[in-house]
Symmetry: C2
Subunit: 546 residues, 2 copies
C-alpha cells in the first residue's frame, strides 16, 4: 500500500490545513492551540445557538472537520490517526464554542471517545457550561454485543442535531432529537481490503479472493471473512441484515458511504445494486454515495439506515454549508426520455439514380484502389502496421458493392452516401476520417455546387478532427496540395500536386500523427506514406478519365 | 486489485443507473436508447439555450454524466470503459438536446473521441444542426508532442461553456469562450499505482517504491518512473513544470483532482502541499480536492491550472446543479481563533486546606489500595491483562503524594482535585472513569452537600460514559449497590453491599464491558472482578473508620 504523505507525525495537521485552505474563505477556522490540540470550528460562530461538537480519531475524513459549517457541526476535535483526542482537546473545543445555549457532543461509540469526551463534558459542566452528550452505536455487525461501534450512521446525527440547533432549538430539544435519531440508526460495512496507515508496515489479512463483512472503521477485523462475489450478492447479504433490524414498515433514509478508496465508478454500481434490492422499498431519502466516514484507504463501503418521520426528513433535507454532505435525494424511478427518430432524409429519402460519368469515375477509382492492396500493405508494413492497403481496399469494395444504390445523379448526395458507407464498413481511423471528409464535402456541395470548394471544406473538417497538418506524414500531404491545385488549375495539376505531395513524405523524418508516429526516424526514411500514395493514385485515375 | 462489480459487461450501465437513482428527482434522465447508446441528459432541458455535450470512454466518473445539470453539461455520452462512444451514440445525443441555438461538443484530445465526435458533428451539421466542437489538450506531461492528451482540465471547459450557455450566449460566443479556455489550461498527473479494469487480470508495472509522473487517464504509462518521496517533493516537481508553462504572471484557478482511489485524508495533505508551494502565489481560485476526472482506481492525483480573467472567474464561481463540482474557493490564509483561557477557578483558585478526618480517611483508603496491588494484579491476570492492581496503586500513590495540596476542608473541591489527579496520573480507562466519577460527584456536592447523592451522581455519569451496568462484571457491580445502601442505610450497610456485589461477579459468566469481555466464559468462572474487589475494599476501610 502506497500513500501520499510527508511524515507520519504531520499527516493529520497537514490534512486539516488542506481542508482549511480549500474551504471557502470565512467559513472555517482553527483554534490557536493547533497542532497540539486540533480543533476546527465555524469561523462565523457567535455562540447564539446550541453548539454541536463532534470528533474522534483521524483517518475518517471528511469526518469530522469536513462537516463543520452552518447546519451541521460547530466544531470538530481531531485526535491522531485512529486515536481519540485528549480530554483537554475536547474541553478546549467546548470552551471555545459553547455559549449560554450550551453544547451537544456527538460521540461514536468507542471506549476512548466515550471516556475522553465524557470526562471533558463533566469538567465543562463543573466550569458551568451546559453540555449534553449523545453516543452513536449504529453498527449491527456483531450480534448481541453490549456496545456496538459507532460508524457512518453518526452522520445522520450530525445532520439532525445541526438542523435543530440551527433552527434555534434549546439544548434539551437538540439532545433529545439527536438521541432519538441515534437510537433509530443501523449500519453495516463491507470491504475488499483492510486499510493501511501511512508510514506503517502493512500486511493485508485478506487473500486475493476474500473480503470482509461487518467491519469497523479502524482496520479491526470484520465479523465474517467472505469470498469475492458480485455486488448484488454482497448487497443482498448486507441489506437482509439491515432489513431484519429496521422491521417491515416505515420510511427510511439511506446513507451510502465510501470507506476510502472505492472509485466513483464502483460506488455507482453499488448504489444501483442497493436501490435495486428489496430494501429500496423502505428507502425514502438517499444520501450519497460519497466518502463521509472513511477508514483511511479501505476499499470498502457501508450502508446506514435511519427511520424517518416528518421532522427527521426535514432535518436531513435542509441545505447545509459543508460540501462533504451530499444533498438528500428522494427515491424515484429513473426518468427516460425517448430519443428522436433519425430525420426522414436519412432513411432512403435520397433514392438511387444513375449517371454514366460518375459511375465510371467511381468504379475506376475503386478498382484501382483494390489493385493497390498489396503494394500499400507493403509500404505500410515498413512504417505502420501493414494494413493500409487492406483498409483502403475494403472501403473501395464496399462502395463498389453498393454502387447501384447510390444517388449518382446528385454529387452532394453521393458524397454523403460514400461517407456513410465508409464510416461503417471501412474501419480504423482512416474510415472515420474519410467519412468526415465526404460528409462535410457533401454539405458544402449541397450549399454551393463547386466540387473543389466542397472537397476543401471536407479537408478542413478532416484535418480539424484528425489533427494532422501538411508535413505530418499522412494522406493530407497529398490531399491538401491536390485540392489547392484543383481550385486554381484543374484536375491535371491536382494529380501532379498529389504525386509530388506523396513523394515528399519520403523525406519526412518524423510522423506527427497516425500510427507511424510510433516509428523511429531511420525506419521512415525513403518510404512514402501509404495513405498519401493512395490519394495520389486516386487523383491520377480521375485525371486520366477527365 | 479487487473491485466491486457484477459483470464486466454491465459496469458502465449499472454505474450510470446508480447516478440516476442518487441524483435529485427531476434533474437527470437517460435516453431510451440505453444501454446500447448511453446518453445522460438534463431532465429539465427545453432546448432554449446552447446545448453543451461531452463524453468519452467510461472509467472517469464522475465525468462525464456526473457533471450534467444546470450550469454545466446538457448531456453526456458514455462509451464503455476507456472506449470512445460510437458516432451513432454522439449523433443521437446531439439530436436529442440540440435546439435552434445549437450545440457545443467538448472533447478530450484522444483520437477515438476526436473522430467519433467529429463525424457525429459533421453528420449532425448535414442534418441541419448547428454544431461546434472544442478539443481540450491540457496535458503537459510529454514535451513537444503534437497532440497532448485531454485530461482533468477539461472540467474547466465544461464549467465555462456551461456558464455562458446558461447565461443565454449564442453558440459562437460559447464556442469561442470554450476554445479560448481550452487554450489556457495546463494539467499534470502523478500516481503511485496503475489502474486496474474490473474483471480483467492486472499486473502493476510499478514496484513497491515507485510512482509515475505525467500519466494519462487510461492506464497508459507515465513519462517518468519516479521513486516514492514525500508529497512536498512530488508537488514541487509537478508545480515547477506547470509554472514553467503558465509563466510568471496572472491569476489562475487550480483544480485538484483525485484520480480515483486516493483517500480523502491524503487528498487533504496534497492540497496543503500545493497551496503551500510557490505556485500558490499564482492561484486565485481553488476547485477541489475531489474526484472529478478519474482513471478507475488509480491511486493518484492531477493538478490543473487555467489562466483567469474576470469572465472566467465569474464562470468558475457560479453555482451549478451537479454536486460533483465542488464550489470554487478563493485562495485565502488560514483563519486562526484564539482558544479561551482556562477559567480562573481552575488555576489554583481552590487552595489547599487541611481536615484531620478527611486526611485520615483518604490516607487509609489509598494505603490500603496500595497494599492490594499484588492481589488485584493476580485476580486480573486470570480475567484481564493483569494490571488492575498496579493501575489502582498508581492512582492511590499519586493522591497520597499530593495530599498536602488538596482542599481537604471542602469535600466538593477535594473530589474535583481527586478527579483531576486521577485523569492525568492513573492511566487507562479506569483512570478516566474514576475521574468522571469524582468530577461529576464534585459538581453535585457543590450544588447540594449530600455525599451519598453526590456519589450517585458520579456513578450515573460514570456508567453513562463507560457503558457498564450492574451485571457486566465491572466495579459498578460493587459500587452501585454500595451507593444505594449508603443513601438509605449508611456506610456499614454500604460496605456489606459492596462486598456482596464484588462476590456476585464471581458467578458472572460473561463480561459485557472492559477488557474481560474478550475472555471466554470458563476462564471467568469463580474469579471476582478485581475492580469490584477494589471498590469493596475501599468501602470496608471507610466503614471501619466511621
Amino acid at each position: 500500500m502506497k500513500h501520499f504523505f510527508n511524515r507520519r507525525e504531520t499527516i493529520v495537521t497537514e490534512a486539516l490545513d488542506g481542508l482549511l485552505l480549500t474551504s471557502s474563505a470565512g467559513r472555517l477556522a482553527r483554534l490557536d492551540t493547533f497542532p497540539d490540540i486540533k480543533v476546527i470550528l465555524r469561523a462565523d460562530w457567535d455562540k447564539s445557538k446550541v453548539a454541536i461538537i463532534s470528533g474522534g480519531g483521524a483517518g475518517h475524513e471528511p469526518s469530522h472537520a469536513g462537516f463543520v459549517g452552518q447546519g451541521m457541526l460547530t466544531a470538530a476535535v481531531s485526535g491522531e490517526i485512529f486515536a481519540s483526542p485528549s480530554v483537554d482537546a475536547v474541553l478546549t473545543a467546548i470552551r471555545a464554542v459553547t455559549g449560554t445555549k450550551g453544547a451537544l457532543l456527538v460521540v461514536k461509540n468507542y471506549t476512548g471517545d466515550r471516556l475522553n469526551f465524557g470526562l471533558a463534558a463533566e469538567k465543562a459542566r463543573a466550569e458551568g457550561f451546559d453540555v449534553e452528550m449523545v453516543i452513536v452505536a449504529d453498527d449491527i455487525a456483531i450480534p448481541g454485543i453490549n456496545q456496538p461501534r459507532g460508524v457512518a450512521g453518526t452522520l445522520f446525527v450530525h445532520k439532525i442535531a445541526g438542523y435543530h440547533a440551527e433552527a434555534g432549538a434549546d439544548l434539551k430539544m437538540v439532545a433529545a432529537q439527536a438521541a432519538a435519531a441515534a437510537h433509530d440508526i443501523v449500519s453495516l460495512g463491507m470491504s475488499l481490503s483492510t486499510c493501511s496507515v501511512p508510514g506503517q508496515a502493512h500486511e493485508d489479512r485478506l487473500g486475493a479472493y476474500e473480503g470482509e463483512l461487518g467491519l469497523g472503521i479502524h482496520g479491526e477485523p470484520g465479523v465474517e471473512r467472505i469470498s469475492l462475489q458480485p455486488v448484488v450478492d454482497l448487497v443482498a447479504t448486507m441489506t437482509e441484515r439491515l432489513a431484519a433490524k429496521v422491521g417491515d414498515t416505515g420510511d427510511h433514509a439511506l446513507l451510502i458511504n465510501n470507506l476510502g478508496a472505492v472509485p466513483p465508478l464502483e460506488m455507482g454500481v453499488i448504489a444501483n445494486a442497493v436501490l435495486s434490492s428489496p430494501i429500496a422499498g423502505r428507502v425514502r431519502l438517499i444520501i450519497g454515495p460519497a466518502p463521509m466516514m472513511t477508514a483511511l484507504n479501505m476499499n470498502g463501503f457501508s450502508l446506514s439506515l435511519i427511520r424517518l418521520d416528518a421532522a427527521r426528513e426535514a432535518a436531513l433535507k435542509a441545505a447545509v454549508a459543508p460540501h462533504a454532505w451530499p444533498p438528500a435525494t428522494e427515491r424515484h424511478e429513473i426518468a427516460i426520455v425517448p430519443a428522436p427518430q433519425r430525420p426522414s432524409m436519412r432513411n432512403g429519402a435520397t433514392s438511387a439514380s444513375d449517371d454514366k460519368h460518375n459511375r465510371r469515375l467511381l468504379t475506376a477509382v475503386c478498382e484501382h484502389l483494390i489493385s493497390l492492396e498489396s503494394e500499400l500493405n507493403r509500404l505500410d508494413s515498413r512504417v505502420g502496421d501493414g494494413d493500409t492497403g487492406s483498409t483502403v481496399a475494403t472501403g473501395a469494395r464496399s462502395i463498389l458493392s453498393r454502387i447501384d444504390t447510390l444517388p449518382l445523379k446528385d454529387p452532394a448526395a453521393t458524397m454523403a452516401s460514400v461517407g456513410e458507407i465508409l464510416s461503417t464498413s471501412m474501419g480504423g481511423s482512416s474510415g472515420v476520417l474519410l467519412s468526415i471528409f465526404f460528409t462535410a464535402a457533401s454539405k458544402a456541395m449541397a450549399e454551393k455546387a463547386d466540387i473543389a470548394a466542397a472537397l476543401l471544406a471536407g479537408l478542413d473538417r478532416m484535418t480539424f478532427y484528425g489533427g494532422a497538418s501538411v508535413g505530418d506524414r499522412t494522406m493530407v500531404d497529398a490531399l491538401a496540395p491536390a485540392l489547392a491545385a484543383l481550385t486554381s488549375e484543374g484536375i491535371a495539376a491536382a494529380a501532379r500536386a498529389a504525386a509530388t505531395g506523396a513523394e515528399s513524405t519520403k523525406a519526412m523524418r518524423k510522423a506527427r500523427a497516425g500510427r507511424a508516429s510510433y516509428v523511429g526516424e531511420r525506419d521512415l526514411e525513403g518510404v512514402p506514406d501509404p495513405g498519401a500514395v493512395a490519394v495520389a493514385n486516386v487523383f491520377e485515375v480521375v485525371a486520366a478519365l477527365a
